[in-house]
Amino acid sequence: MTVNELVKQLRLQVFGGEQGLSNEITGGYTSDLLSDVMGHADSGKVWITLQTHKNVLGVASLKELAAVILIKNLQPDNDMLNQAQQEGIPILGTGKAAFEISGELYNLLKK
């Protein structure tokens, strides 16, 4: 599944990094600790988090993640958005909490 298909299926908002909408998704990882993601998320994963700063994109890029989903209607900081454009990693948004959006993503990828 591509990030674009995910956006449609889970009705997510796209904040930026549109160049990466064709990225292929291999799974998901939910965490607000950057070193946890650094140590344990594999490439192609979608990262679900409440962190909205630039370093999220730094980690996402180094780990070659497919996209980042911000939960609970959180907005990305400006420098996070700029970094997303540069790196081509989509920042997506949902009004849902981490538990719910993680469950939806899990069910979608399980099919």
Binding site: D32, L33, S35, D36, G39, T49, N55, G58, L62, K63
Partner: protein, 137 residues
């Protein structure tokens, strides 16, 4: 080949820049992607440690056909108890740093898990030197 990067204390907007730059170098050198991933995890954690905990420092990365040798050198304050610092979950990070999702005491364990050799030398009042070696074969 040697690459050197300066790391500013407290400047989180630049944290990760050295790792990102060195990753590109390793890709250009056609290093095995799985090995690049391990190098990047340990280097990034070391870089963030200099930003979050030190008075500033530098990273010196050397590549030869056999290994990648990284030295992270800062100008203080030094680590009083390295054994404690190595424990998963132990951190001296400030509340601000923790709010950003850093400082969960996972950095040094991540470095240890991804490096073939990790050496830490530290003297309180002088500074810390972290050495990471990852074999390329």
């Amino acid at each position: 080949m040697q690459f050197e990067y300066n790391i500013e204390a407290g400047n989180f907007t630049k944290a990760g820049d050295a790792s990102s730059n060195f990753k590109k170098v390793l890709k250009q050198l056609n290093v095995d992607p799985q090995i690049i991933k391990r190098i990047v995890v340990s280097l990034y954690e070391g870089e963030v440690n200099i930003v979050a905990h030190s008075y500033g420092g530098k990273v010196i990365c050397e590549v030869n056909p056999k290994k990648v040798w990284i030295r992270l050198i800062d100008t203080g304050p030094g680590i009083p108890d390295i054994e404690k610092a190595m424990q998963a979950g132990y951190s001296t990070a400030s509340p601000k740093v923790r709010e950003m999702g850093f400082g969960a005491g996972m950095g040094l364990p991540n470095m240890k898990n991804n490096a073939d050799i990790l050496n830490i030398k530290s003297e309180v009042g002088k500074g810390t030197e972290v050495e990471i070696i990852v074999n390329l074969n």
